[in-house]
């Protein structure tokens, strides 16, 4: 596997590699008779939550010191002292503290992994066949992943000049997951703040008819009564109920394969053709059980979704490569020209049915309302490219590259675009006689590169379409079409643009590669500057134009930074060796312009908080509610009741981009033993935590425990005098951390963590001299074993609510990070 950083990778892989590419080279057999080997490896890994919030365990469910069992998430209740209370099921119980009531909702995760491979070859061909199996049981009940994969790789030399390679991988993955996200079926939507006097294990989670019930639940015959029919105390699903009945299952069948043929026209001239595919089919079945409270349309009635998503990518490459040295081998030329044709197709079909009739029958025909969907998409690209690399005595290098792409995502007039790259480097230790054969500075290279890459637009952005309407708002109500036998269509709010053209990334970098004392110390320093221009985004336009947004090529942004990597071997003697490798990266991003009159665009999130692009600010700036402040001193403004009020307009509340990050790996080896540790450091990078907000404002956090005293906000009153109004602890914490209060739940996410620790031992060869075993390695490994995040309370700051997207820095009741530890054995026959 190799990583091609930055756009220099783009000439071969096109605009899809504008941000760099990861090239995975599949394993191959080795040529030669009698070289058949069998590899077997087997491993087990255990995982557990790496950080739990610091809870108080003194006060129970309720508010202002008064116990309240129903629809209550607050732990602002009475002091827990074994007193008798009426619980949410109308029964008497002694109020008890359960310090592990959240921790016990998780169990230990386990992963088993087995791989076996056979490889070998004759003098004309090689083969590699492998089978792998993975079974992963997550930290929540009923969360599992099973993966089986088969790989085949074969190469054959048909004639002296002609050879062919076939690669194929088939993978079957089945997963069962619990629902996630900002909704009531997520078992950790509110259970992070489970009242400290409550334990789910004390009560049944399902009624005999397969349903659940909460006091005061709408849609049920009796409203607020505390009966033994209740299986949940509040508006969210019982976590055991949702883990068992609200399932999300997925099965993926994927084939990745390619065939490649090469013909040597001359010893220095080779023609290669490769055609490959990556095709997968993803089948989903997502069930919201009847009486489950997740989702909007499905709340209480239940819903079943069946979906099949197919994607297939086909790519064809033809290249001719020239590789020759001239003038007594002093002057080298490596050149290639090529063509790429690429097609990506998707098909997504399915149906959602709501209002489940027979509890437990999870066929979509067991529902009353159906809403089918089906979309297809197709995208094509043709590219031609040429690259020429020259070198003089392996000491001066010059590379010139050009690529022209034609993408189907643009209109016929704009679809052709060209982008060049130039790379230069000089090996000083070869070129300057004074530096040659120098024992201190054994190698020195400087390099400077420039590359530009064009990017495709999102498909179907060139026209404006009408699509099926479906009135809905954030509060949940919606109308589904067809409605009363009519189809309703609405003009899309984002207008297409036939003049759309590619966006470009211009990347400049300079760097040096130095090696001292014959490679005992290596230093690699790189400075880069990346300018993006003609960025395509949906520019907000005046609503009276008929659109809210219009696709345009308009934004510019910039990122620049340093990457430094240092390697050293401080000690090496008597079979003992100590290696250090360290890297340090600093990237500064800035949105330099959006559209005329547009100073900000929302990337993701909610009304508060959201992540935005704001001119002059870093990428994905956090934006949210702030408090009213006194205008001259900037102190918090306290009202006549001693309370804080939020300001009307939201403002910037944080920058999620770290100032720098670093990794340090130390490896110690002695004979067959090696110990390696990776320390991962991030400095800066703000995170908005909904979890911390919930924990503090609901009185679950340890810092809310000191509540017998009055609290005074550190601020000023309207007349400018220092605030002296005492308020209840509950009001104080609700003011600062309450729902929708952004400012004080943004934390500096700096961390130091022991990302990886591994101990490996290679059994001495002499043990197996007379057996069929070739080599045995055993190892222990751990990930995320230790975390130091001094400025973020309660959570591991390495979370992102928004999955794989450019919007970062928001945490919304997500599942926690884990620490894992395991063992591995590898045997070669």
């Amino acid at each position: 596997m190799s990583v091609l950083k930055g756009p220099s990778a783009a000439v071969l892989y096109g605009s899809r590699a504008a941000a760099g590419a990861i090239i995975i080279t599949t394993k191959k057999g080795t040529k030669g008779k009698g070289k058949n080997t069998v590899n077997f490896s087997s491993g087990v890994t255990f995982s557990e939550v790496n950080r739990f919030p610091d809870y108080q365990n003194v006060y129970g469910q309720g508010q202002y010191g008064v116990f309240n069992p129903a629809n209550e998430l607050n732990s602002w209740g009475p002091k827990i002292a074994g007193q008798n209370v009426t619980n949410f099921r109308g029964q008497q119980e002694a109020l008890t503290a359960y310090p592990n009531n959240v921790k016990n909702l998780f169990h230990q995760g386990r992963t088993f992994q087995n791989n076996v491979s056979f490889s070998g070859g004759s003098d004309k061909s090689t083969y590699y066949v492998s089978y792998g199996n993975l079974h992963d049981m997550g930290i929540l009940p009923n969360n599992e992943l099973t993966r089986n994969n088969f790989t085949f790789n074969g190469t054959t030399q048909f004639t002296d000049r002609f050879r062919a390679t076939v690669n194929a991988t088939y993978t079957n993955t089945r997963t069962a997951r619990t629902q996630q996200g900002n909704q009531r079926s997520n078992p950790f939507f509110s259970n992070w703040i489970l009242p400290k006097s409550f334990d789910w294990y004390n009560y049944p989670y399902v009624l005999p008819d397969g349903t659940q019930r909460s006091p005061g639940q709408t849609g049920l015959p009796t409203a607020t009564d505390l009966t033994t029919q209740n299986t949940a105390f509040g508006p969210d699903d019982n976590p055991f109920f949702t883990e068992k009945f609200n399932t999300s299952n997925e099965e993926v069948n994927r084939i990745i394969g390619n065939i490649s043929m090469s013909y040597d026209i001359k010893p220095w001239l080779t023609a290669t053709y490769r055609i490959g595919t990556d095709t997968y089919s993803q089948e989903y079945k997502v069930i919201n059980a009847k009486t489950s409270k997740g989702g909007s349309a499905a709340s209480l009635t239940g819903a079943i979704q069946d979906e099949i998503f197919n994607r297939s990518e086909l790519s064809s490459y033809a290249t001719v490569t020239l590789n020759k040295r001239f003038m007594d081998n002093n002057f080298g030329v490596r050149a290639f020209v090529g063509n790429e044709i690429n097609q990506r197709k998707t098909r997504d079909i399915g149906a959602t049915g709501t209002d489940i009739q027979i509890v437990g029958l999870n066929n979509i025909t067991n529902t009353l309302n159906f809403s089918p969907f089906g979309t297809v998409s197709k995208q094509r690209l043709i590219g031609v490219f040429a690259d020429i690399s020259l070198d003089w005595k392996n000491s001066i290098f010059l590379g010139l590259t050009g690529r022209n792409d034609w993408s189907s995502t643009f209109g016929p007039q704009r679809r052709s675009y060209f982008y060049p790259a130039i790379t230069t480097s000089v090996v000083l230790t070869e070129l300057i006689p004074f530096l040659q054969d120098n024992s201190v500075l054994s190698f020195a290279k400087i390099r400077a590169n420039y590359a530009s890459v064009g990017r495709e637009a999102a498909i179907y952005s060139t026209d404006t379409y009408y699509s099926r309407t479906g009135p809905a708002d954030g509060f949940g109500p919606n109308i589904l079409f067809p409605f009363r036998g009519q189809l309703g269509q609405t003009l899309n709010n984002t207008g297409g643009n036939p003049a759309l053209a590619p966006e470009f990334n211009d990347n400049m970098e300079v760097g040096t590669d130095l090696r001292f004392f014959n490679g005992k110390i290596t230093v690699d320093v790189n400075y880069f500057k990346n300018n993006s221009r003609d960025i395509i985004f949906a520019v907000p336009v005046a609503a009276a134009s008929g659109f809210t947004n219009q696709q345009k090529n308009i934004g510019t942004s910039e990122s620049k930074g340093w990457e430094i990597a240092i390697g050293a071997t401080p000690y090496q003697a008597n079979g003992f060796r100590w290696d250090i490798s360290a890297n340090w990266t600093k990237i500064v991003t800035k949105v330099t312009s959006l559209a005329p009159g547009v100073t900000q665009v929302t990337l993701g999130g909610f009304t508060t908080p959201s992540t935005r692009l704001i001119v002059g600010q870093p990428y994905s700036t956090l934006f949210g509610s702030v408090f009213q402040r006194e205008s001259t001193t900037g102190k918090l403004l306290v009202d006549t009741n001693g309370r804080l009020q939020t300001a009307l307009d939201n403002q910037i509340i944080g920058n999620p981009n770290p100032l720098w990050f670093a990794g340090i790996t130390n490896t110690f080896s002695y004979k067959g033993f090696s110990v390696s540790a990776l320390l991962d450091i991030r400095y800066g990078g703000d995170i908005y935590s909904r979890n911390v907000s919930d924990i503090e404002n609901n009185g679950a956090g340890a810092d809310t425990q000191d509540r017998e005293k009055g609290y005074i906000h550190d601020g000023v009153l309207a007349d400018g005098t220092k605030n002296n109004i005492q308020i209840h602890a509950q009001d104080y914490f609700k003011d600062l951390y309450g729902f929708g209060r952004g400012q004080f739940v943004v934390f500096d996410g700096s961390w130091v963590r022991l990302r990886e620790l591994s101990i490996n031992y290679s059994l001495p060869q002499r043990f197996f001299q007379k057996t069929f075993i070739g080599r045995v390695d055993i190892g222990l490994n751990g990930r995320n074993l230790w975390l130091y995040a001094p400025n973020t309370p309660h959570i591991d700051p390495e979370v992102n609510a928004q999955g794989q997207s450019n919007s970062q820095g928001l945490e919304f009741n997500g599942l926690p990070q884990t620490r894992t530890y395991g063992a591995l054995i590898k045997v070669t026959f």
Partner: protein, 147 residues
Amino acid sequence: MKKRTNKIISFAALLFLVSACDEFLNVNVNPNSTTGPPAKTILAGATTEIAFHMGSDIHRFSSEWVQQFTGGGNAGTQTVEYGRYNVTATDLNNCWRGGVWGDVLSDLQKLRELTQDKSPRYAGIAKICQAFMFSIAVDAWGDIPFT
């Protein structure tokens, strides 16, 4: 002669390739949506949107302010904050841009343009609906842009 024939053939092949490429790349028409729907589906959509927005944000803000109902829950819950006149610029923007204009008025405007000459009955209904939506918007915001 043979050279010339070769030249012509290769030039023709090149032309064919270039036009074939254009054909190959002309796939950016969304097969899942339409650019020209019939008037009746636009009207059905727009009228339903009007009805929906009568019960959505505009209604939530105004009904709370005239105390026809009140928001329940703790401080910070959206409906509680609306009741305290704490409606943010983003809330209003969503309502004005996405709701009143994006969902209703723009569709009705398109409907008028599409049917003015061919079937003026639709254009007439669209004008009446537009007038109704404008009256609601004026009630909510005072003066608003008309064009």
